[in-house]
């Protein structure tokens, strides 16, 4: 069982969370001509540290930024989205 250190609730089992996805994506500005295809479809998909968003649905119901190693499942850091881990 993986454990995620929620910045609001403390360490909790992964089953309380839902995986949202890649935390490095930035939505293009409204009205921007380019960037939507990259944002919606393309991913770096790293083998190693991956910055990602999990949602603490059975806890505080907030988004948590997690840096996790996709090759080992090791949790490297957690934080609030937009700060530190992301």
């Amino acid at each position: 069982m993986l454990r995620i250190d929620c910045p609001w609730c403390g360490p909790r089992d992964m089953v309380e969370f839902t995986y949202v996805g890649d935390g490095t994506l930035r939505r293009p500005e409204i009205g921007a001509e380019d960037g939507h295809f990259d944002y919606v479809y393309l991913r770096d998909n790293p083998k190693g540290p991956h910055v990602e968003i999990w949602r603490h649905g059975v806890g505080c119901r907030r988004h948590v930024a997690v840096t996790r190693d996709t090759a080992t499942h090791e949790m490297l850091a957690t934080g609030k989205p937009g700060e530190g881990a992301s």
């Binding site: 995986y19 890649d22 919606v40 991913r43 770096d44 083998k47």
Partner: protein, 418 residues
């Protein structure tokens, strides 16, 4: 090497089984080939076989970083079917199923293809309507499909819960009688042996570490056993598709996810078809050794670890027990995880890339095994002719940019949901 036949078996019986030779050579890589296929799994080996057999390209090599069939080819639940609804998928998978039907003869290798039927269960009227729609679409495409009533399902799969207490009562099901299972390792070995006999070099323990691209054209690959030149390079590496593509500067619409599968202790014959649960994600069949082979959802997060976590094991087993309560008395013998290259629409990518001479066969999500011969067949065509066959035209890499996605499940661009 010789042809496998009843005569060779009899002769072997009389000569102390001394007639067996290794099934394929173990050559050192040559400095250059006409084409290189990266990935010695079912898809890569099938591609090499059809390139040599149908397109006359025999000066080719398959590069495998580990051993033949050691990746997802040897890690799946061996289900073969072509029960797809969308036009761009249906004909491709049906072609693959037709190739399966003659594969053991074609390869002179018993892949133990067993057309025992694939039965998808429905647990609501709406689901029955959905299956009727899919079954009709399949039949219009010339693919076999039968809509079964609850009583017909009971005859096919009596071990399912038909009691009053069933958590998700069975309303009926959609059956593809020509679907079934095959022996996954034999598929890799059979294609390897057949390709080798046509002159293909299968080079194991040879990891590709770089792809050489000069002015937008591929010129060869760098490997752990030295550089190899080739004007055509095909990638067929499943879970590590994005890693390989990155070597050529490509960013793909793929995330690698984790899928687990499980096998129970062996039983006497208990279930003689493939059954899938319709109220959760669970599919089960019985191997010839007697073990119940089953699996379910992805773990849900990006992973290259090739091992899963227990919450998903529990979830899959809960689905299984809800469908077939007698499963709960069994012990799990083993379970394992594999890396799935999940695309943004749940359908695979087979075709050309923006790099001239570089071809991509990947994004199989967790449905690659059934496609093995068809995938090799169309990928060989694509590599030899430098253009997709009409059967894989809809599976092109640029479909995402064009908005022509093939989202069989309608889940949207979230790889973990397909």
């Amino acid at each position: 090497m010789g042809e496998y036949s009843v005569w060779s078996v009899l002769r072997g019986g009389l000569t102390g089984q001394t007639h067996w030779k290794r099934a394929w050579r173990d050559p050192d890589p040559k400095p250059a080939y006409d084409a290189i296929i990266v990935g010695g799994g079912g898809h890569g080996l099938a591609t090499a076989f059809y390139l040599a057999k149908l397109h006359g390209m025999t000066n080719i090599a398959v590069l495998e970083k580990g051993w033949v069939g050691g990746g997802n080819t040897g890690r799946n639940t061996t289900i073969v079917r072509s029960n797809y609804m969308l036009e761009g998928n249906a004909h491709f998978y049906e072609k693959s199923l037709q190739l399966w039907e003659g594969l053991s003869q074609e390869l002179n290798y018993n892949v133990m293809f067993s057309q025992r039927g694939v039965l998808n269960l429905a647990h609501s009227d709406a689901q029955m309507d959905g299956y009727a729609r899919r079954g009709n679409a399949m039949r219009l495409n010339g693919i076999d499909a039968e809509l079964l009533t609850r009583e017909q399902v009971r005859a096919w799969a009596p071990m399912c819960d038909f009691s009053e207490r069933a958590r998700f009562p069975i309303h009926g099901g959609l059956l593809q009688p020509r679907g079934g299972t095959a022996r996954h390792d034999a598929v890799a070995w059979g294609f390897a042996r057949a390709a080798d006999r046509l002159g293909v070099d299968i080079i194991q323990n040879c990891e590709v570490t770089g792809i050489d691209v000069v002015e937008g054209r591929v010129t060869g690959v760098q490997t752990s056993r030295g550089p190899i030149k080739a004007k055509k390079v095909g990638l067929a590496v499943a879970g590590h598709t994005t890693q390989l593509a990155q070597m050529a500067g490509l960013r793909l619409p793929i995330e690698s996810h984790l899928l687990q599968a499980m096998v129970s202790e062996p039983l006497k014959p208990w279930i003689d078809c493939v059954v899938t649960f319709g109220a959760g994600h669970f599919y089960i069949s019985q191997s010839d050794k007697g073990g119940l082979v089953f699996g379910g959802d992805l773990d849900g997060y990006n992973s290259f670890a090739q091992r899963g976590n227990l919450p998903m094991v529990e979830h899959v087993v809960q689905c299984g027990v809800a469908l077939m309560p007698s499963l709960k008395r069994l012990r799990l013998l083993r379970h394992w995880g594999g890396v799935m290259d999940m695309t943004m629409d749940g359908s695979p990518i087979i075709g050309k890339t923006p790099v001239e001479g570089l071809y991509l066969n990947g994004g199989w999500c967790y449905g690659g095994f059934k496609a093995t011969p068809g995938s090799g067949w169309v990928f060989a065509y694509t590599m030899a002719q430098d253009r997709p066959h009409e059967l894989n035209a809809a599976l092109s890499l640029d479909r995402f940019e064009r908005g022509a996605v093939l989202d069989e499940r309608g889940a949207g661009p979230t790889p973990g949901w397909h």
